[in-house]
Subunit: 110 residues, 2 copies
DNA sequence: ATATATACATAATTTCCTTATGTATAAAAC
DNA sequence: GTTTTATACATAAGGAAATTATGTATATAT
């Protein structure tokens, strides 16, 4: 790592994308999935994750459902109808952003 | 636009990259070059640009040289030796970041 | 004469993240 | 059997980097 600050602003999109693929996930599971997906390159901290989940819920993009597994608390999040729509548009913005950044940092290959 | 917040954290790298290509540039020129390069997708605001340039200078990555052109002030920035080294590493981090984000948002194509 | 473009700057505020800390249970290691 | 690590949530203090608003000044276009 060392480039963690480049991820600033993309956490919500990452969460939405994972929930689009997985129907429902809980917080800790999200951090582990991201770590695995990125081969350890991106580690979402709890101080970033939980406020982000609460924000997405407050904005009506996620629904939450509490469960008790192995005597431990889990909060399962899933996309609302609105969240599903918003995910599509956030992903389009992300693709646009990635393309644009490629154009800037590597103009020869784009 | 609407995805401007995704650019959060990448402004310094963008500036360094442009200066790697252009030897010396002044602030306003950087905003115009970026607007043109990105077809209007990214508009660097002055409130972001000037503090960023001052920070890079304070960190010893840029040298500044004041010039008067058409009776107007211009501050030309160029990479220091250290800035050139740092640019290489920042660009490597950016490429890594872009690759990782592609893996997350578009796993099928990477 | 007025609006737009060029060219710098900074202050107040907001956003998003890091770092630190806290609670609690389960499993693994020593 | 006790301590460490993993699982699972949460929030508060602080910092970095942006947005928004405002300011100065000259040149060009309408």
């Amino acid at each position: 790592m060392g480039n963690q600050k480049l991820y600033k602003g993309s956490l919500q999109t990452i969460i939405l994308k994972l929930l689009e693929e997985n129907d429902k996930m809980y917080g800790y599971e999200i951090t582990q999935r991201v770590k695995q997906l990125t081969k350890g390159e991106l580690n979402i901290t709890e101080g970033a994750l939980y406020p982000a989940l609460h924000k997405l819920e407050a904005d009506g993009l996620l629904d939450v459902e509490v469960a008790k597994v192995d005597n431990r608390l889990r909060k399962y999040y899933k996309l609302t109808e609105n969240g599903t729509k918003e995910t599509v548009s956030r992903l389009a913005e992300m693709e646009e952003f990635l393309k644009t950044m490629q154009t800037i940092v590597n103009p020869k290959f784009v």
